[in-house]
């Protein structure tokens, strides 16, 4: 399974005074098994772009291939695509509509025509993966949950479909630190098990640096940069100019470098930061004697 996007353009409210070119001539490919992080300021077109990948939005022009299937072709069966490409929306709380949590999560698998047992098994597994205790939450109304709990229900509903391509639009916004970490670990474990493609849209630069094989940077509807985390996060000035930033470790390393204490390498996480500082600060002392 791979993804190929060619010259994709999306225009909202075409022809009206306030028409917006939300995605502007974007092309890329994603290889089987790749983990892509997408960053970009609010309104840069991230959500619009990824909603094309499972056919929710239709482009103004351009084409998208999921594996061999051109999903932008006229006669494509959208159900087939949605089975393979799972999308967790940015505001998943609005995706909830059933009267209980377990029914809500079962909704997708039911549409796949699975047996009752299979559905039940998937619901339990998905709830476990997102850290919702079955006994406590299965029978509760999804509308009577805290913000973070609703988000987990929505994520569980998508992973219960076991999609080959999993797309998450800011899935950890509003989650407490532990749940945040749990969701990231869950994403990692799904990927490990299924080996599919994962696309993560996030404002958390540290998460993207840690998880992604490649980072896509969106700016004003365009794909402004593509590269490994080390390549993309090496340019803090550029990222700041477009409303973004770098992971905390990189921010601090750059600050120290500007004041004379330079590492001479790209520091992306706390491990690298610790090594650099421990070496520099104790090394100086040792080299004296």
């Amino acid at each position: 399974m791979s993804i190929r996007v060619e010259n994709l353009t999306h225009i909202y409210n075409k022809g009206l005074a306030y028409e917006t070119k939300a995605v502007d001539d974007v092309s890329f490919t994603v290889a089987d098994g790749e983990f892509i992080g997408i960053i970009g300021h609010t309104g840069s077109g991230k959500s619009t772009l990824i909603q094309h990948l499972n056919g929710i939005l239709k482009p103004e022009s351009g084409s998208i291939f999921i594996g061999d299937a051109e999903i932008t072709a006229k006669k494509i069966k959208m159900n087939e695509i949605r089975k393979r490409v799972g999308l967790v929306f940015q505001y998943p709380e609005y995706q909830l509509f059933e009267e209980t949590v377990s029914k809500d999560i079962a909704f997708g698998p039911k549409n796949l025509g699975l047996s009752e047992e299979e559905i039940d098994e998937r619901v339990r597994e998905a709830m476990q993966m997102v850290g919702l205790d079955f006994a406590t939450y299965a029978g509760r109304s999804p509308f009577e949950l805290s913000g973070g709990q609703k988000r987990r229900v929505a994520i569980a509903g998508v992973i219960a479909m076991r999609p080959e391509v999993l797309i998450l639009d800011e899935p950890t916004a509003g989650l407490d630190p532990k749940s945040h970490e749990d969701i990231l670990n869950m994403v990692k474990s799904i990927r490990h098990r299924a080996g599919g493609i994962v696309i993560l849209v996030s404002h958390n630069m540290g998460d993207v640096a840690e998880m992604a094989d490649r980072v896509f940077v969106m700016d004003g509807g365009k794909l402004a940069r593509v590269g490994t985390p080390a390549e993309v996060f090496a340019d803090e000035a550029f990222l700041k100019r477009i409303g973004l930033g770098v992971p905390p470790a990189a921010r601090m390393a750059n600050d120290l470098a500007a004041r004379g204490l330079a590492s001479g390498r790209v520091i992306l996480n706390i491990d690298e930061m610790t090594d650099f500082l421990a070496d520099t600060l104790s090394g100086a002392r040792e080299s004296k004697s």
């Binding site: 973004l244 706390i270 930061m273």
Partner: protein, 298 residues
């Protein structure tokens, strides 16, 4: 009932709140807020953290009388939320800003959105114009007053939402995860405004999942299962690392880095909880090393 004004802006006394629950369910209802007592100083900045479902938003909604106590009391600037006659006074004093910038703005033009609240309070047109000016200026959005909100970035929308609250001249503003949906620049903008409001003696309550955003607060309150689990200054709170982790929270970056550097034998004093403070110290250490390198006689 009107109490004497004092230095406590909010007094929460043994507050219990439970949402209605399903009669058929065997399990007893869990109190969303469970015997909480808390006093908030006039003009202070209180950060509230805690895991999902711990009762933060429920507590906040009890402060502006969106929700009312099952037992206990909430007194806002002397007014009891259970007193029907006080509702107006309380709503005027407490403004709220929520997570999602997209569904807080209701009008087609920025300045209309800001005028919406004061209009509902029956403020005179001249006064409204003045309020639009100062509140949009306060969030650096006056130049955008004629724009349509949907053309703004997330951070800008959130600033307009804050202006709408400022225009009501509240004494307390409760921010319920105001930066959760924002990009790094938007987050920095909103945090800058929160700190400025605090400097101008607005009483600020900030609910957040970002530990970094609590570091300039006067006090952190940690909620757990409807109760207050910990309370203290940021430096106190983040020195209790084992407890923080047991509550499913995280240490701020500088605190985590300090712990790791100490393990590697680097000498760092307690209490450097911000990146800036830690950087200063590291630079001093490094310069000390450099000078001693240059002067071997030392």
């Amino acid at each position: 009932m009107n109490f004497v004004k004092d230095d406590k802006m909010i007094r929460i006394e043994d507050l219990v709140f439970e949402y209605g629950w399903d009669e058929e369910e065997a399990a007893a209802p869990v109190n969303a807020v469970d015997h909480v007592s808390l006093e908030v100083e006039r003009g202070s900045f209180t950060a509230v953290i805690g895991r999902n479902g711990s009762g933060k938003s429920t507590l906040a909604k009890n402060i502006n009388a969106l929700l009312l106590p099952a037992s206990g009391r909430v007194i806002v600037d002397g007014f009891d939320t259970l007193d029907d006659a006080a509702l107006w006074e309380i709503r005027q004093r407490v403004g709220m800003v929520f997570q999602n910038p997209d569904n807080q703005l209701v009008s087609a033009v920025v300045e209309d959105d800001v005028a919406f609240g004061p209009e509902n309070l029956g403020v005179a047109p001249d006064e409204i114009r003045e309020r639009i000016r100062f509140s949009l200026t306060a969030v650096d959005m006056y130049a955008h007053r004629k724009m349509a909100p949907h053309l703004l970035s997330g951070g800008q929308k959130q600033r307009v939402a804050i202006a709408g609250v400022i225009a009501m001249k509240p004494e307390i503003i409760i921010f319920d995860e105001p930066t959760a949906m924002l990009d790094p620049e938007g987050r920095a903008e909103v945090m800058g405004i929160i700190e400025r409001l605090h400097e101008e003696n607005i009483t600020v309550v900030l609910i957040t999942h970002f530990m970094e955003e609590t570091l300039n607060s006067d006090r952190i309150v940690i909620m757990d299962r409807g109760r207050i689990a910990m309370e203290g200054t940021p430096a106190e709170i983040f020195s209790r690392t084992a407890e923080i982790e047991a509550l499913d929270l995280k240490l701020p970056f500088a605190v985590e880095l300090t712990a790791r550097l100490k393990e590697r034998g680097i000498d760092i004093p307690a209490g450097l909880i911000t990146e800036r403070a830690l950087s200063e110290h590291l630079l001093t250490l490094w310069k000390g090393n450099e000078t001693s390198d240059l002067c071997p006689s030392e």
